[in-house]
């Protein structure tokens, strides 16, 4: 029996790996091109550039605030409830603020916020750009000598980046507040009365900034993947649906991979 190329597991794996590299290459090219246009736009900004960015920030950010607040508040509550018994075993329940602060600020705030944003904003960006592709709007834009990367990708990418920075900070507050709620309801007065004080003393600026940096990276990834998927839609409405789904899937994978890479880097450099 001859080996079927499509059925050969090694070739299939190789094909998958190649595809992933091609995808990463495509994203990198899109990022490079967007940065080039960012430089050009910064050199000679027009009023419409500022307006377009503002519109995208409102669209990406405002829609997501409520759900981020809800999710991250519960993350704080769950963290506190999960950690309390173990900390009590060691007589360290007073450290609940520090533990919530470190795990929340450094990882859970950026990562959950990014997942929420990829579902909300990422999918909607992919659907919007995909629909524009189907309706020949992107082609019309190019034919009118208007670069789609400058007019469409740049404001969306900058918006997801900035919004992720803001939302990560907001998520930090919500996680801390969720933890405080449980401290108040389940732990003694000594713990909750000094909750904020201990959080302030137990945390360092680097705990906040490592989370913030990751938030920014995740924001760029969501913006890139959603624009890339949207602009590469093929095959009408079905293609648009596929692009929105794949945006969320690829974004989540990319977010987790990036979180891992960031953590390794922070670990190596002692952050």
């Amino acid at each position: 029996m001859t080996a079927n190329a499509a059925g050969n597991p090694i070739e299939r794996l190789g094909g998958r790996v190649l595809k992933s590299f091609r995808y990463a290459g495509g994203l990198s090219l899109l990022l490079a091109e967007t940065l080039r246009w960012a430089g050009k736009t910064l050199a000679a900004p027009k009023r419409r550039d500022v307006r377009a960015l503002g519109e995208q920030i409102v669209r990406v950010g405002i829609k997501s605030i409520g759900i981020v607040a809800l999710v991250q508040g519960f993350v704080g509550v769950i963290l506190a409830l999960q950690l309390t018994p173990t900390l009590e075993d060691y007589g360290q329940e007073a450290q609940i603020a520090t533990v919530i602060g470190i795990s929340g600020f450094r990882m859970l705030a950026p990562i959950f916020t990014a997942v929420v944003l990829s579902g909300f904003a990422g999918a909607s960006i992919a659907a919007e750009l995909g629909t524009m592709v189907v309706a020949e709007e992107i082609e019309a834009m190019q034919a009118m000598a208007l670069n789609p990367i400058r007019f469409l990708v740049l404001p969306r990418l900058v918006a997801t980046f900035l919004v992720m920075l803001l939302l990560t900070t907001f998520a930090d507050v919500m996680i801390a507040a969720g933890g405080y709620l449980i401290a108040h309801l389940a732990l003694g007065a000594e713990v909750y009365s000094r909750y904020w004080e201990r959080m302030r003393d137990g945390l360092e600026y680097k705990d906040y900034f490592t989370g913030l940096i990751q938030g920014g990276v995740f924001g760029v990834l969501i913006g890139l993947i959603s624009c890339y998927e949207g602009l590469h839609v093929r095959g009408g409405a079905e293609g648009v649906g596929r692009a929105t789904t794949m945006t969320v899937v690829y974004s989540i994978v990319a977010i987790v991979l990036a979180a891992c890479v960031c953590t390794v880097i922070f670990y190596v450099f002692g952050f």
């Binding site: 524009m132 019309a140 034919a143």
Partner: protein, 290 residues
């Protein structure tokens, strides 16, 4: 309208030479050459999948050919970088099949966009120009409407107003009559001829609507299977359409297409797809002894 045969003394605004475009190894355009002269209306026609839309996309620079040359205003577009190509693009306008209006902008903003981005005109001047362009297509009252609030025919007219916003020297039309009722289609045709006369632009129209093609064309090109089957003035195509079948394969094929007959070389070609042989082969393979 100009004399379609008097092109000898003039430089073409578009010159396409030996254009080849392949998709997955299959040549959709297979050595197409043509020239478009200032002020003329050239209609490119052919059946679905003959490569006419691909040809248009190669001419406007949204696709890159695998072989051959595309020259616009004497410049080889394949040698131009993106910003040089943009300079060429500012000199032509395109009406897409769907109109391709930006759905997030009003009709007026759509028409204003090229003016805002590519000129230094102040807002007041742009407003006046938008009004003038919309008046040219009879839609001044629709300025504040969104594209979703207007009909397909109106979208095409707005698309046309946007295409002529920068006073182009060439206008490309991709299936301008597709999806329109006969009256609206005729209206668009007259608008196209009107603009061609008033602005003196060269027009390249890709269509398979024969009524429209014969109404507007100075010169026609018929594509089939990625090749130019015939090129000539409208009168030459009219002669074939109105004449009797000749028995000559190519002429009869063109005649069938122009007349929209259900019987002829095109339909016979489809029927000669080897269906019987395929069935026989399949049966032999299935029931062959041993």
């Amino acid at each position: 309208m100009i004399d379609a045969n008097d092109n000898t003394a003039r430089e073409p605004v578009i010159r396409v030479a030996d254009l080849v475009k392949r998709f997955d190894g299959r040549a959709v355009l297979d050595g197409v050459s043509l020239e478009v002269y200032p002020g003329e209306m050239l209609v490119i026609m052919g059946g679905s999948g003959c490569g006419k839309s691909t040809l248009l996309r190669n001419m406007i620079g949204s696709m890159t050919p695998d072989e051959g040359e595309v020259e616009i205003f004497g410049r080889d577009t394949l040698q131009l970088d993106e910003s040089e190509l943009d300079e060429v693009r500012k000199r032509f306008g395109i009406l897409f099949q769907s109109g391709a209006l930006f759905n997030s902008m009003t009709v007026g903003e759509n028409v204003a966009l090229p003016l805002r981005e590519h000129t230094d005109l102040d807002e007041a001047t742009i407003d006046i120009m938008v009004m003038m362009k919309l008046e040219q297509v009879g839609l001044r009252q629709a300025e504040d409407l969104m594209p979703s609030e207007i009909s397909g025919g109106m979208k095409k007219r707005v698309g046309l107003a946007r295409a002529v916003a920068l006073d182009p020297e060439i206008l490309f039309y991709d299936e301008p009559s597709a999806g329109l009722d006969p009256v609206t289609s005729a209206e668009i045709d007259h608008l196209m001829m009107d603009l061609a006369q008033k602005l003196g632009v060269a027009s390249v129209v890709v269509t398979h609507e024969m009524d429209s093609a014969f109404r507007i064309a100075d010169r026609m090109i018929m594509l089939d299977k990625g090749k130019v089957l015939m090129e000539g003035p409208r009168s030459a195509f009219e002669a074939i359409r109105d004449g009797a079948a000749t028995g000559e394969e190519t002429t009869d094929l063109i005649r069938q297409f122009l007349r929209g007959d259900s019987d002829g070389p095109i339909t016979r070609r489809r029927q000669d797809s080897g269906y019987e042989e395929d069935i026989l082969h399949a049966a032999e393979a299935r029931y062959a002894p041993g």
